[in-house]
Protein backbone atom coordinates (compact mmCIF):
# COMPACT_ATOMS: atom_id res chain seq x y z
CA UNK A 1 0.00 0.00 0.00
CA UNK A 2 2.80 2.37 0.91
CA UNK A 3 4.38 2.23 -2.50
CA UNK A 4 1.15 3.43 -4.01
CA UNK A 5 0.93 6.40 -1.69
CA UNK A 6 0.92 9.68 -3.56
CA UNK A 7 3.44 12.42 -3.01
CA UNK A 8 3.11 14.60 0.03
CA UNK A 9 0.46 17.24 -0.51
CA UNK A 10 -1.04 15.47 -3.51
CA UNK A 11 -3.75 13.47 -1.81
CA UNK A 12 -6.60 15.06 -3.72
CA UNK A 13 -8.32 12.27 -5.57
CA UNK A 14 -10.24 13.49 -8.55
CA UNK A 15 -10.60 10.04 -10.01
CA UNK A 16 -10.28 10.36 -13.73
CA UNK A 17 -13.37 9.17 -15.52
CA UNK A 18 -12.42 5.79 -16.77
CA UNK A 19 -14.52 4.53 -19.59
CA UNK A 20 -13.77 0.90 -19.00
CA UNK A 21 -15.38 1.15 -15.57
CA UNK A 22 -19.11 0.68 -15.15
CA UNK A 23 -20.98 3.96 -14.57
CA UNK A 24 -21.68 3.23 -10.91
CA UNK A 25 -17.99 2.91 -10.17
CA UNK A 26 -16.98 6.38 -11.33
CA UNK A 27 -16.21 9.05 -8.81
CA UNK A 28 -17.09 12.28 -10.55
CA UNK A 29 -16.91 15.56 -8.63
CA UNK A 30 -19.43 17.19 -10.95
CA UNK A 31 -22.15 14.76 -9.83
CA UNK A 32 -24.55 15.71 -7.02
CA UNK A 33 -22.92 14.85 -3.75
CA UNK A 34 -23.93 14.41 -0.15
CA UNK A 35 -20.62 15.38 1.38
CA UNK A 36 -17.34 16.82 0.32
CA UNK A 37 -13.98 17.13 2.04
CA UNK A 38 -11.50 19.56 0.60
CA UNK A 39 -7.85 19.33 1.70
CA UNK A 40 -8.89 18.36 5.20
CA UNK A 41 -6.22 17.89 7.85
CA UNK A 42 -6.75 17.13 11.50
CA UNK A 43 -4.08 17.64 14.11
CA UNK A 44 -4.19 16.39 17.69
CA UNK A 45 -1.38 18.39 19.23
CA UNK A 46 1.54 17.68 16.93
CA UNK A 47 0.06 14.41 15.67
CA UNK A 48 -1.58 14.60 12.26
CA UNK A 49 -4.46 12.12 12.19
CA UNK A 50 -5.54 13.25 8.73
CA UNK A 51 -3.46 15.03 6.12
CA UNK A 52 -4.91 16.94 3.19
CA UNK A 53 -7.72 14.55 2.49
CA UNK A 54 -10.08 15.43 -0.34
CA UNK A 55 -13.10 13.31 -1.03
CA UNK A 56 -16.55 13.56 -2.56
CA UNK A 57 -19.30 11.28 -1.35
CA UNK A 58 -22.16 10.69 -3.76
CA UNK A 59 -25.64 9.38 -3.05
CA UNK A 60 -26.34 5.68 -3.51
CA UNK A 61 -22.72 4.80 -3.00
CA UNK A 62 -20.96 2.71 -0.41
CA UNK A 63 -17.42 3.70 0.47
CA UNK A 64 -15.34 1.19 2.38
CA UNK A 65 -12.43 2.75 4.24
CA UNK A 66 -9.48 0.50 4.94
CA UNK A 67 -6.27 1.18 6.79
CA UNK A 68 -4.20 -0.02 9.68
CA UNK A 69 -4.85 1.14 13.23
CA UNK A 70 -4.12 4.84 13.54
CA UNK A 71 -4.48 5.46 9.81
CA UNK A 72 -7.18 8.07 10.42
CA UNK A 73 -10.33 6.09 9.61
CA UNK A 74 -12.26 7.01 12.74
CA UNK A 75 -11.10 10.62 12.55
CA UNK A 76 -12.39 10.83 8.99
CA UNK A 77 -15.79 9.55 10.07
CA UNK A 78 -15.96 11.85 13.10
CA UNK A 79 -15.18 14.85 10.91
CA UNK A 80 -17.94 13.85 8.49
CA UNK A 81 -20.29 13.43 11.45
CA UNK A 82 -19.45 16.92 12.70
CA UNK A 83 -18.05 15.57 15.97
CA UNK A 84 -14.59 16.89 15.10
CA UNK A 85 -13.68 20.06 13.27
CA UNK A 86 -10.86 19.93 10.75
CA UNK A 87 -7.72 21.84 11.65
CA UNK A 88 -7.28 22.78 7.99
CA UNK A 89 -9.49 22.44 4.95
CA UNK A 90 -13.24 22.51 4.56
CA UNK A 91 -16.06 20.02 4.97
CA UNK A 92 -19.45 20.35 3.39
CA UNK A 93 -22.35 18.01 4.19
CA UNK A 94 -25.61 18.51 2.28
CA UNK A 95 -24.32 21.93 1.34
CA UNK A 96 -23.78 22.94 4.98
CA UNK A 97 -20.26 24.08 5.76
CA UNK A 98 -20.76 22.97 9.38
CA UNK A 99 -21.56 19.24 9.29
CA UNK A 100 -23.21 19.35 12.71
CA UNK A 101 -25.93 21.55 11.19
CA UNK A 102 -26.88 18.57 9.06
CA UNK A 103 -26.58 16.11 11.92
CA UNK A 104 -30.22 15.01 11.82
CA UNK A 105 -29.54 13.57 8.36
CA UNK A 106 -26.39 11.72 9.42
CA UNK A 107 -26.25 8.42 11.27
CA UNK A 108 -23.00 7.67 13.07
CA UNK A 109 -22.04 4.36 14.61
CA UNK A 110 -18.83 4.25 16.59
CA UNK A 111 -16.71 1.42 18.07
CA UNK A 112 -18.60 1.97 21.31
CA UNK A 113 -22.32 1.16 21.33
CA UNK A 114 -23.35 4.72 22.32
CA UNK A 115 -26.27 3.32 24.31
CA UNK A 116 -27.11 3.01 28.00
CA UNK A 117 -26.38 -0.32 29.66
CA UNK A 118 -29.12 0.27 32.23
CA UNK A 119 -31.94 0.49 29.69
CA UNK A 120 -33.37 -2.18 27.40
CA UNK A 121 -32.71 -1.91 23.67
CA UNK A 122 -36.28 -0.76 23.12
CA UNK A 123 -35.99 1.91 25.85
CA UNK A 124 -32.70 3.12 24.40
CA UNK A 125 -34.17 3.46 20.93
CA UNK A 126 -37.36 5.11 22.18
CA UNK A 127 -35.20 7.62 24.02
CA UNK A 128 -33.20 8.51 20.91
CA UNK A 129 -36.19 8.57 18.57
CA UNK A 130 -37.82 11.18 20.85
CA UNK A 131 -34.84 13.46 20.25
CA UNK A 132 -35.58 13.93 16.54
CA UNK A 133 -38.51 16.34 16.63
CA UNK A 134 -40.29 16.72 13.31
CA UNK A 135 -38.29 14.01 11.58
CA UNK A 136 -40.11 10.83 10.59
CA UNK A 137 -38.32 8.06 12.45
CA UNK A 138 -38.69 4.33 12.47
CA UNK A 139 -40.34 2.95 15.56
CA UNK A 140 -37.92 1.19 17.93
CA UNK A 141 -39.57 -2.11 17.08
CA UNK A 142 -39.10 -1.55 13.34
CA UNK A 143 -35.45 -0.60 13.78
CA UNK A 144 -34.78 -3.64 15.96
CA UNK A 145 -36.51 -5.98 13.51
CA UNK A 146 -34.43 -4.56 10.67
CA UNK A 147 -31.25 -5.64 12.39
CA UNK A 148 -32.68 -9.02 13.29
CA UNK A 149 -33.37 -8.45 16.98
CA UNK A 150 -36.53 -9.26 18.86
CA UNK A 151 -38.15 -5.98 19.99
CA UNK A 152 -39.87 -7.81 22.83
CA UNK A 153 -36.60 -8.93 24.37
CA UNK A 154 -36.92 -7.57 27.92
CA UNK A 155 -33.28 -7.61 28.88
CA UNK A 156 -31.03 -4.70 29.80
CA UNK A 157 -28.66 -3.62 27.04
CA UNK A 158 -25.69 -4.22 29.37
CA UNK A 159 -26.55 -7.93 29.41
CA UNK A 160 -26.43 -8.28 25.62
CA UNK A 161 -23.69 -10.19 23.81
CA UNK A 162 -21.21 -8.15 21.76
CA UNK A 163 -22.91 -9.08 18.50
CA UNK A 164 -26.30 -8.02 19.81
CA UNK A 165 -24.82 -4.76 21.04
CA UNK A 166 -23.48 -4.06 17.56
CA UNK A 167 -26.86 -4.77 16.02
CA UNK A 168 -28.64 -2.55 18.53
CA UNK A 169 -26.12 0.16 17.84
CA UNK A 170 -26.90 -0.11 14.14
CA UNK A 171 -30.61 0.01 14.95
CA UNK A 172 -30.02 3.32 16.71
CA UNK A 173 -28.33 4.67 13.60
CA UNK A 174 -31.17 3.50 11.34
CA UNK A 175 -33.82 4.95 13.63
CA UNK A 176 -33.74 8.46 12.18
CA UNK A 177 -33.60 7.18 8.58
CA UNK A 178 -30.34 9.03 7.89
CA UNK A 179 -29.19 9.92 4.39
CA UNK A 180 -25.54 9.37 5.25
CA UNK A 181 -24.53 6.35 7.31
CA UNK A 182 -21.11 6.54 8.92
CA UNK A 183 -20.22 3.15 10.36
CA UNK A 184 -16.99 2.69 12.27
CA UNK A 185 -16.06 -0.98 12.19
CA UNK A 186 -19.62 -2.28 12.22
CA UNK A 187 -18.55 -5.92 11.83
CA UNK A 188 -16.23 -6.04 14.84
CA UNK A 189 -17.26 -8.65 17.41
CA UNK A 190 -19.81 -10.13 15.01
CA UNK A 191 -19.86 -13.69 13.78
CA UNK A 192 -19.57 -14.12 10.01
CA UNK A 193 -23.22 -14.95 9.49
CA UNK A 194 -24.41 -11.87 11.43
CA UNK A 195 -21.94 -9.70 9.56
CA UNK A 196 -23.25 -11.01 6.23
CA UNK A 197 -26.79 -10.20 7.33
CA UNK A 198 -25.66 -6.70 8.16
CA UNK A 199 -24.02 -6.36 4.75
CA UNK A 200 -27.25 -7.45 3.08
CA UNK A 201 -29.14 -4.87 5.11
CA UNK A 202 -26.68 -2.14 4.13
CA UNK A 203 -26.94 -3.15 0.48
CA UNK A 204 -30.62 -2.26 0.65
CA UNK A 205 -29.83 1.17 2.08
CA UNK A 206 -27.30 1.89 -0.63
CA UNK A 207 -29.98 1.48 -3.26
CA UNK A 208 -32.17 4.16 -1.71
CA UNK A 209 -30.04 7.24 -2.47
CA UNK A 210 -28.12 6.97 0.77
CA UNK A 211 -24.40 7.26 1.18
CA UNK A 212 -22.67 4.66 3.32
CA UNK A 213 -19.15 5.13 4.60
CA UNK A 214 -17.85 2.24 6.64
CA UNK A 215 -14.48 1.44 8.06
CA UNK A 216 -13.39 -2.12 8.55
CA UNK A 217 -10.44 -4.43 8.79
CA UNK A 218 -12.52 -7.21 7.20
CA UNK A 219 -12.50 -6.06 3.59
CA UNK A 220 -13.83 -9.37 2.29
CA UNK A 221 -17.04 -8.89 4.25
CA UNK A 222 -17.69 -5.43 2.92
CA UNK A 223 -16.58 -6.22 -0.63
CA UNK A 224 -20.04 -7.08 -2.02
CA UNK A 225 -21.42 -3.60 -1.29
CA UNK A 226 -18.31 -1.51 -1.81
CA UNK A 227 -18.60 0.95 -4.68
CA UNK A 228 -15.25 2.39 -3.74
CA UNK A 229 -12.52 1.19 -1.46
CA UNK A 230 -10.57 4.02 0.13
CA UNK A 231 -7.27 3.09 1.69
CA UNK A 232 -5.84 5.39 4.29
CA UNK A 233 -2.23 5.31 5.32
CA UNK A 234 -0.78 7.59 7.98
CA UNK A 235 -3.64 10.04 7.59
CA UNK A 236 -3.45 10.27 3.81
CA UNK A 237 -5.55 8.66 1.14
CA UNK A 238 -3.22 6.10 -0.32
CA UNK A 239 -5.68 4.92 -2.92
CA UNK A 240 -9.29 4.91 -4.01
CA UNK A 241 -10.28 1.94 -6.06
CA UNK A 242 -13.61 0.87 -7.44
CA UNK A 243 -15.06 -1.81 -5.26
CA UNK A 244 -15.03 -4.64 -7.72
CA UNK A 245 -11.33 -4.04 -8.38
CA UNK A 246 -10.31 -3.72 -4.74
CA UNK A 247 -8.78 -7.14 -4.65
CA UNK A 248 -6.98 -6.69 -7.95
CA UNK A 249 -3.72 -4.80 -7.50
CA UNK A 250 -3.05 -4.71 -11.26
CA UNK A 251 -6.06 -2.50 -11.85
CA UNK A 252 -5.37 -0.38 -8.83
CA UNK A 253 -3.11 2.26 -10.35
CA UNK A 254 -5.17 2.66 -13.49
CA UNK A 255 -8.35 3.30 -11.60
CA UNK A 256 -7.02 5.73 -9.02
CA UNK A 257 -5.15 7.69 -11.66
CA UNK A 258 -2.25 7.75 -9.25
CA UNK A 259 1.17 7.66 -10.81
CA UNK A 260 2.92 7.05 -7.51
CA UNK A 261 4.64 3.67 -7.36
Amino acid sequence: MTQNAPEAGSTTHPIRPDLDRPPHARLDHTQPHNAQLNQVSKLFGSFAALRQVSLTLEPSRCYVVLGENGAGKSTLLRILAGLLRPTHGTVSVFGESQPHEARARIGYMSHAPMLYDELTAEENLRYFSSLYPGRPCLTPAEALRQVGLDPKLDRLFGQYSQGMRQRTSLARVLLSVPEILLLDEPFSNMDVESARQMVALLAGFRQSDRTIVLTTHQRELAAPIADFVITLHAGRIASITPGFAAANPDRHVAHTGSTAQ
Binding site: H100, A104, A112, E118, L119, E123
Partner: protein, 222 residues
Protein backbone atom coordinates in the same frame (compact mmCIF):
# COMPACT_ATOMS: atom_id res chain seq x y z
CA UNK B 1 -37.87 22.26 24.15
CA UNK B 2 -40.09 20.50 26.65
CA UNK B 3 -40.40 17.14 24.87
CA UNK B 4 -36.67 16.53 24.67
CA UNK B 5 -36.25 17.84 28.23
CA UNK B 6 -38.77 15.34 29.58
CA UNK B 7 -37.24 12.57 27.48
CA UNK B 8 -33.81 13.20 29.00
CA UNK B 9 -35.25 13.58 32.49
CA UNK B 10 -37.35 10.41 32.28
CA UNK B 11 -34.27 8.52 31.11
CA UNK B 12 -32.13 9.78 34.02
CA UNK B 13 -34.82 9.04 36.60
CA UNK B 14 -35.43 5.56 35.18
CA UNK B 15 -31.74 4.71 35.28
CA UNK B 16 -31.37 6.00 38.84
CA UNK B 17 -34.49 4.12 39.92
CA UNK B 18 -32.93 0.91 38.60
CA UNK B 19 -29.42 1.38 39.94
CA UNK B 20 -29.75 3.82 42.90
CA UNK B 21 -26.05 4.57 42.34
CA UNK B 22 -26.17 8.30 43.16
CA UNK B 23 -28.68 8.00 46.01
CA UNK B 24 -26.87 5.28 47.92
CA UNK B 25 -23.49 6.97 47.75
CA UNK B 26 -24.98 10.33 48.78
CA UNK B 27 -27.03 8.98 51.68
CA UNK B 28 -24.10 6.98 53.00
CA UNK B 29 -21.66 9.85 52.69
CA UNK B 30 -23.89 12.60 54.10
CA UNK B 31 -25.03 10.34 56.95
CA UNK B 32 -21.41 9.73 57.82
CA UNK B 33 -20.66 13.47 57.92
CA UNK B 34 -23.63 14.20 60.18
CA UNK B 35 -22.74 11.40 62.61
CA UNK B 36 -19.04 12.30 62.73
CA UNK B 37 -19.77 15.98 63.37
CA UNK B 38 -22.23 15.08 66.12
CA UNK B 39 -19.46 13.06 67.78
CA UNK B 40 -16.84 15.75 67.26
CA UNK B 41 -19.00 18.51 68.81
CA UNK B 42 -21.11 18.34 71.90
CA UNK B 43 -24.66 18.27 70.51
CA UNK B 44 -26.13 19.69 73.72
CA UNK B 45 -26.70 23.38 74.21
CA UNK B 46 -26.93 26.46 72.02
CA UNK B 47 -23.67 25.80 70.17
CA UNK B 48 -25.16 22.89 68.26
CA UNK B 49 -27.98 25.18 67.08
CA UNK B 50 -25.40 27.61 65.75
CA UNK B 51 -23.28 25.10 63.82
CA UNK B 52 -26.11 22.84 62.67
CA UNK B 53 -26.84 24.93 59.58
CA UNK B 54 -23.23 24.75 58.50
CA UNK B 55 -23.02 21.02 59.11
CA UNK B 56 -26.17 20.36 57.09
CA UNK B 57 -24.92 22.47 54.17
CA UNK B 58 -21.44 20.97 54.19
CA UNK B 59 -22.84 17.43 54.42
CA UNK B 60 -25.11 18.16 51.47
CA UNK B 61 -22.28 19.74 49.54
CA UNK B 62 -19.81 16.86 49.94
CA UNK B 63 -22.49 14.28 49.28
CA UNK B 64 -23.61 16.11 46.15
CA UNK B 65 -20.08 16.29 44.79
CA UNK B 66 -19.78 12.51 45.03
CA UNK B 67 -22.90 12.26 42.84
CA UNK B 68 -22.00 15.16 40.54
CA UNK B 69 -18.67 13.53 39.76
CA UNK B 70 -20.68 10.67 38.30
CA UNK B 71 -23.28 12.89 36.63
CA UNK B 72 -21.92 12.24 33.13
CA UNK B 73 -20.24 8.90 33.83
CA UNK B 74 -22.81 6.86 31.93
CA UNK B 75 -22.61 9.20 28.96
CA UNK B 76 -18.82 8.91 28.88
CA UNK B 77 -18.68 5.14 29.39
CA UNK B 78 -20.03 4.09 26.00
CA UNK B 79 -19.70 7.42 24.18
CA UNK B 80 -23.44 7.98 24.54
CA UNK B 81 -22.66 11.67 24.55
CA UNK B 82 -21.52 11.44 20.92
CA UNK B 83 -24.92 10.04 19.99
CA UNK B 84 -26.56 12.85 21.96
CA UNK B 85 -24.41 15.39 20.15
CA UNK B 86 -25.65 14.00 16.83
CA UNK B 87 -29.34 14.58 17.55
CA UNK B 88 -30.89 17.88 16.45
CA UNK B 89 -32.28 18.85 19.86
CA UNK B 90 -30.37 21.43 21.88
CA UNK B 91 -27.71 20.37 24.36
CA UNK B 92 -29.18 22.81 26.89
CA UNK B 93 -32.16 20.48 27.29
CA UNK B 94 -29.90 17.61 28.17
CA UNK B 95 -28.12 19.83 30.68
CA UNK B 96 -31.32 21.10 32.26
CA UNK B 97 -32.74 17.59 32.54
CA UNK B 98 -29.53 16.36 34.16
CA UNK B 99 -29.62 19.30 36.58
CA UNK B 100 -33.26 18.67 37.53
CA UNK B 101 -32.56 14.95 38.02
CA UNK B 102 -29.58 15.63 40.29
CA UNK B 103 -31.53 18.31 42.15
CA UNK B 104 -34.24 15.75 42.87
CA UNK B 105 -31.67 13.19 44.05
CA UNK B 106 -30.01 15.65 46.44
CA UNK B 107 -33.40 16.88 47.71
CA UNK B 108 -34.47 13.32 48.48
CA UNK B 109 -31.22 12.77 50.37
CA UNK B 110 -31.88 15.95 52.38
CA UNK B 111 -35.37 14.71 53.25
CA UNK B 112 -33.98 11.36 54.37
CA UNK B 113 -31.20 13.07 56.33
CA UNK B 114 -33.37 15.68 58.05
CA UNK B 115 -34.90 13.51 60.83
CA UNK B 116 -31.51 12.07 61.76
CA UNK B 117 -30.03 15.53 61.70
CA UNK B 118 -32.61 16.91 64.14
CA UNK B 119 -32.14 13.91 66.45
CA UNK B 120 -28.34 13.93 66.45
CA UNK B 121 -28.14 17.69 67.07
CA UNK B 122 -31.12 17.89 69.37
CA UNK B 123 -32.53 20.71 67.23
CA UNK B 124 -35.72 22.68 67.50
CA UNK B 125 -36.61 25.42 65.05
CA UNK B 126 -36.97 28.85 66.67
CA UNK B 127 -37.42 30.92 63.49
CA UNK B 128 -39.85 30.49 60.59
CA UNK B 129 -39.67 26.81 59.67
CA UNK B 130 -41.29 27.40 56.26
CA UNK B 131 -38.26 29.41 55.19
CA UNK B 132 -36.22 26.22 55.26
CA UNK B 133 -38.43 25.05 52.39
CA UNK B 134 -37.08 28.00 50.39
CA UNK B 135 -33.46 28.03 51.48
CA UNK B 136 -32.64 24.36 51.04
CA UNK B 137 -34.00 23.99 47.48
CA UNK B 138 -32.42 27.30 46.40
CA UNK B 139 -29.06 26.35 47.90
CA UNK B 140 -29.23 22.85 46.47
CA UNK B 141 -30.07 24.21 43.02
CA UNK B 142 -27.10 26.60 43.24
CA UNK B 143 -24.81 23.66 43.94
CA UNK B 144 -26.26 21.30 41.35
CA UNK B 145 -26.62 23.78 38.48
CA UNK B 146 -22.92 24.60 38.73
CA UNK B 147 -21.87 21.06 39.56
CA UNK B 148 -23.50 19.52 36.48
CA UNK B 149 -22.06 22.25 34.26
CA UNK B 150 -18.51 21.96 35.58
CA UNK B 151 -18.69 18.16 35.57
CA UNK B 152 -19.43 18.41 31.84
CA UNK B 153 -16.64 20.94 31.41
CA UNK B 154 -14.11 18.64 33.06
CA UNK B 155 -15.13 15.50 31.13
CA UNK B 156 -12.07 15.66 28.91
CA UNK B 157 -9.70 15.96 31.85
CA UNK B 158 -7.84 13.00 33.32
CA UNK B 159 -8.25 14.40 36.85
CA UNK B 160 -11.86 15.39 36.39
CA UNK B 161 -12.97 14.44 39.93
CA UNK B 162 -10.30 16.62 41.45
CA UNK B 163 -10.93 19.36 38.90
CA UNK B 164 -14.65 19.49 39.64
CA UNK B 165 -14.06 20.21 43.34
CA UNK B 166 -11.38 22.72 42.46
CA UNK B 167 -13.68 24.73 40.19
CA UNK B 168 -17.00 24.18 41.92
CA UNK B 169 -16.24 25.06 45.53
CA UNK B 170 -14.87 28.59 44.95
CA UNK B 171 -17.82 29.44 42.71
CA UNK B 172 -20.28 27.98 45.21
CA UNK B 173 -18.91 29.99 48.17
CA UNK B 174 -21.38 32.94 47.89
CA UNK B 175 -24.31 30.51 47.77
CA UNK B 176 -22.85 28.42 50.59
CA UNK B 177 -22.48 31.53 52.74
CA UNK B 178 -26.08 32.54 52.05
CA UNK B 179 -27.32 29.02 52.71
CA UNK B 180 -25.42 28.54 56.00
CA UNK B 181 -26.37 31.97 57.33
CA UNK B 182 -30.03 31.54 56.39
CA UNK B 183 -30.32 28.05 57.91
CA UNK B 184 -28.55 29.31 61.06
CA UNK B 185 -30.97 32.24 61.34
CA UNK B 186 -33.98 30.00 60.88
CA UNK B 187 -32.79 27.46 63.45
CA UNK B 188 -31.78 29.99 66.09
CA UNK B 189 -34.31 32.72 65.33
CA UNK B 190 -31.49 35.29 65.28
CA UNK B 191 -31.81 37.77 62.43
CA UNK B 192 -33.91 37.84 59.31
CA UNK B 193 -32.74 35.52 56.50
CA UNK B 194 -34.83 37.29 53.83
CA UNK B 195 -31.89 39.15 52.30
CA UNK B 196 -29.83 35.94 52.09
CA UNK B 197 -32.75 34.13 50.48
CA UNK B 198 -33.04 36.90 47.88
CA UNK B 199 -29.33 36.61 47.25
CA UNK B 200 -29.65 32.87 46.75
CA UNK B 201 -32.47 33.43 44.29
CA UNK B 202 -30.40 35.97 42.35
CA UNK B 203 -27.40 33.63 42.36
CA UNK B 204 -29.54 30.80 41.01
CA UNK B 205 -31.01 32.93 38.22
CA UNK B 206 -27.62 34.23 37.11
CA UNK B 207 -25.81 30.90 37.13
CA UNK B 208 -28.69 28.96 35.60
CA UNK B 209 -28.95 31.45 32.75
CA UNK B 210 -25.20 31.54 32.17
CA UNK B 211 -24.93 27.74 32.24
CA UNK B 212 -27.83 27.27 29.83
CA UNK B 213 -26.33 29.76 27.42
CA UNK B 214 -22.84 28.27 27.60
CA UNK B 215 -23.64 24.59 27.76
CA UNK B 216 -23.86 24.03 24.00
CA UNK B 217 -20.31 25.33 23.65
CA UNK B 218 -19.06 22.89 26.30
CA UNK B 219 -21.20 20.07 24.93
CA UNK B 220 -19.94 20.35 21.37
CA UNK B 221 -16.32 21.00 22.31
CA UNK B 222 -13.90 18.38 20.99
Amino acid sequence: MTRALFTHLAKDLRIEWRTLDAMISMIFFSGLVVVLFSIAFDPRGAFSQQIAGGVLCVATMFASVSALNQAWAREIRHQVMDAQRMVPSAGAELYLAKTIANFLFVSIVQLVLAPFFFVFYNLHIVGNAWQLALVLPLGTWALVVNGVFFAALSIGSRNREFLLSLILFPIFIPALLAMVTSVGSILTGDGDPTLWIKMLLGYDIIFTTASLLLFDVVFHAE
